[in-house]
């Protein structure tokens, strides 16, 4: 062990010390969630979409919320959605949760090598998917499966074939499970590199503007990856070119084991980053389906009206492990989610629908069971095409395809070598 150098501070001067942020909660003691700084439902004003970005400073520090604890929808951000639309949102969130639960079990059974659930964050992708239009393009992270599961035109069987890396895997076994690509559903191919997609979303939006198109882009990033240069780069380019893009920061408090303060969230907000870049910015309750829809719709209208980008920080909580390779009990309180002030997005929308007389616990249970049966049936069908554990993986020779548009001579030779066993 090296000897600690003693303080070189001259007399009368305090020696400097390094500040390393720490969460208030760790295994064995509770989190003090007062750091979140929430606002009461209905309390935050809703400015017109042509608000000056500089005037969104308060919105970037407050928390846009619609759903109150008693289930009522309050205030100017209430999107006044039809009850039928709300029930569709609820069903999509239940579908996402049931899909995640099934796939977690499948990973334990080694049918897939890896899985990433979105437990507790289902409202964000679902609400935004409902606010976007056909042709818009999302550049998601690995935890926005709800963007796909909110749609009826993406088959769960096909998604599971990707997860199982089987012979029907549309990614031909090349990508980690959950790294979907669905251009037809406005879902950009997921990268495992973090943050790269954020600036690409801005580029896609710039292209749409260059072509005088009407489609917009939606970029996604987690709180942890906002520390990457690509995040700050994206804010600069989006602001400079007034790109028609929604810049979503999903602040679920945790980047694997790293608390959001290590990404720079201490004593400030991620939404505040946007204001500093000249971008209209909102901080929104990500577990409030109505607030998610309303804020997404507001941002989409801004983009579609040539008013430029909007940054939205979605405050939520990563209720599960980062991935199937992670054990959060090693670094945070086990009951943290139960104490999280913004609750469970599914329970909150259910309570709202019941409060307005459009739902019941019995109907909720029936819907949940119906969706769980659909997910189970999809899994059964997907497994008929194989899983990673039974070795029904895509043809190894296919690994040489798509490196280039046409296969160059050196890859033809290497493929021949693989096939010949030389």
């Amino acid at each position: 062990m090296t000897e600690q150098r003693r303080s070189a501070a001259p007399a009368g001067r305090e020696p400097l010390h390094l500040h390393v942020p720490e969460p208030s909660g760790r295994p064995g003691h509770h989190t003090d969630f007062s750091y979140l700084q929430t606002s009461p439902a209905g309390a935050v004003p809703r400015p017109p979409i042509d608000v000056s970005p500089a005037d969104t400073g308060d919105l970037a520090r407050a928390l846009v919320r619609v759903l109150a604890d008693d289930g009522r929808a309050l205030g100017p951000w209430n999107p006044q959605l039809e009850p039928g639309r709300l029930r569709q949102g609820l069903a999509a969130m239940l579908k996402t949760r049931a899909f995640d639960a099934r796939m977690l079990v499948a990973q334990r059974q080694k049918k897939t090598s890896f899985y990433m659930q979105s437990l507790g964050e289902e409202a964000i992708g679902t609400g935004q998917a409902f606010a976007l239009e056909p042709g818009d393009m999302c550049f998601p992270t690995y935890r926005q499966q709800s963007l796909l599961l909110a749609r009826d035109d993406i088959s769960m069987v096909e998604m599971m074939c990707q997860l199982f890396s089987n012979q029907r895997d549309p990614m031909k076994g090349r990508q980690l499970p959950v790294m979907y690509s669905y251009k037809r559903a406005g879902f950009f191919t997921i990268s495992g590199n973090l943050a790269t997609q954020f600036i690409q979303a801005v580029g896609w939006a710039m292209a749409s503007a260059i072509k005088r198109d009407t489609r917009i882009a939606s970029g996604w990033i987690g709180d942890g990856a906002t520390a990457e240069a690509d995040f700050h780069t994206a804010l600069t380019f989006a602001h400079v070119y007034r790109a028609p893009v929604i810049l979503n920061v999903v602040n679920n408090q945790w980047a694997i084991s790293t608390f959001q303060a290590i990404a720079g969230g201490e004593a400030t907000t991620f939404a505040g980053r946007g204001v500093g870049s000249g971008i209209a910015s909102l901080r929104v309750d990500g577990n409030d389906f109505l607030a998610v829809y309303a804020a997404s719709h507001w941002a989409a209208e801004r983009a579609r009206s040539n008013l430029g980008p909007t940054l939205i920080e979605w405050v939520t909580y990563r209720a599960g492990a980062h991935s199937t390779s992670d054990d959060p009990s090693k670094y945070r309180p086990k009951d943290d989610w139960a104490n999280f002030p913004l609750g469970d997005p599914i329970a909150r929308l259910e309570a709202h629908l019941i409060a307005i007389g459009e739902w019941s616990e019995a109907r909720h249970d029936a819907l949940r069971k119906e969706i769980e049966a659909q997910v189970a049936a999809a899994q059964k069908e997907a497994e008929t095409f194989g899983t990673l554990v039974d070795g029904h993986i895509p043809d190894p020779a296919s690994m040489f395809e798509d490196v280039y548009e046409t296969m160059p001579a050196h890859l033809v030779a290497q493929r021949a070598q693989l096939l010949s066993g030389r």
């Binding site: 690509s181 690409q200 160059p408 050196h410």
Partner: protein, 355 residues
């Protein structure tokens, strides 16, 4: 073979309009002009490329002609320049982005290596990145270590990228058009010392302009020099020189000054490359010298040497020689001690002719 024979011998060199004498800068500009006019999905951007027309003037006049939504300035952020290019490519555009100096590409490494190069593969063709990244490279202009580098080997190592380096106005235009039309991402390296003349390494002699060189005769319209095609720049019997960029002219000078009848292969496309042209020549001359300006260790010459060993071992009469930049950063004041000039290439040619 003379230069004009080399020119007319190129199958793709049928001019569709008149021909003008151009510098490499003018030829590159002409390629961008042709593609901006032909394809509304082509956009051109980068640091200083808009109103001003680029620090090397390649994009001069293009913004005035095509407007600010087709040709525009970018923030000083190479990661952002490449990142938005990838996003534009995913949308369906054909972005041509300029990295002001190849030495500046490092902040964009993730977007090049993990994104542009792999988009097609990882999405099984759902998304592609038909992006062309132009980068002035190489030394000879007293640029010091941050304006002189030749980082081609960092790109040839990356599967999914195409790496191209022209050495004359005719190839520069034809290869740039081919690169823009290519649906794979292309790293387009421009030897900046060749922008205004065929520099042969004799830095102490008067500058030779392109106007006196046959490869400065450039068709005004659209043509392509196919990717993955090398050019036999000089036919010879004694030894094969595998090279590209500025070193093509340095090698030509070395051959002429030593009197060794070297066959010079200008690779043009570094990867994927024209292996047949290399193997054909080395099997003919049975000797080989590999010349590049970049640093030696794990340089592209190492790959060329390995390929010759794999394909031509039993035809070789002598060890393969490598002439490269030293394994040091590119120095400023000692530029001409670093630069592998004709004297060093000549010494390697003589060694290759021993035995």
């Amino acid at each position: 073979m003379t230069m004009s024979e080399a020119l007319t011998g190129d199958a793709a060199a049928v001019p569709s309009a008149g021909t003008s004498t151009m510098t490499m800068i003018q030829a590159l500009r002409s390629a961008l002009d042709v593609m901006l006019a032909r394809d509304p999905d082509v956009v051109v951007f980068g640091e200083d490329v808009g109103y001003f027309g680029g620090v090397f003037r390649v994009t001069d006049g293009l913004q005035a002609k095509y407007g600010t939504s087709r040709v525009f300035d970018a923030p000083i952020n190479e990661g952002g320049i490449v990142g938005v290019a990838v996003g534009m490519g995913a949308y369906g555009l054909r972005p041509v982005a300029e990295i002001q100096f190849a030495d500046y590409f490092y902040p964009a490494s993730d977007q090049i290596v993990s994104e542009a190069a792999r988009l097609r593969y990882r999405s099984v063709g759902d998304f592609t990145a038909p992006v062309t990244l132009r980068m002035p490279c190489g030394g000879g202009i007293y640029g010091g270590q941050t304006h002189s580098q030749s980082p081609e080997a960092l790109f040839t190592h990356v599967c999914g990228l195409r790496t191209v380096m022209p050495c004359n106005p005719y190839d520069a235009k034809g290869l740039l058009i081919a690169s823009i039309e290519c649906n794979d991402p292309v790293i387009f390296l421009e030897p900046k010392r060749l922008y205004n003349g065929p520099f042969d390494g004799h830095h102490d002699r008067p500058v030779v302009p392109w106007s006196q060189h046959p490869l400065a005769a450039v068709p005004d319209g659209h043509y392509v020099v196919p990717l993955e095609s090398a050019r036999v720049f000089r036919e010879g019997r004694d030894v094969t020189i595998l090279t590209y960029g500025t070193m093509v002219f340095v090698s030509e000078a070395a051959a002429s000054e030593t009197g060794i009848d070297a066959e010079i292969i200008d690779l043009r496309s570094l990867w994927p490359l024209d292996l047949d042209a290399i193997v054909r020549s080395v099997k003919k001359t049975r000797r080989c010298v590999v010349v590049h300006e970049a640093t030696r260790t794990s340089g592209f010459g190492a790959e060329l040497t390995a390929l010759i060993q794999e394909h031509c071992f039993y035809h070789l009469e002598a060890p393969i020689e490598r002439v490269t930049g030293w394994d040091t950063p590119y120095p400023h004041a000692q530029e001409w001690d670093y630069f592998p000039g004709p004297a060093r290439v000549g010494r390697a040619l003589r060694r290759a002719m021993e035995d």
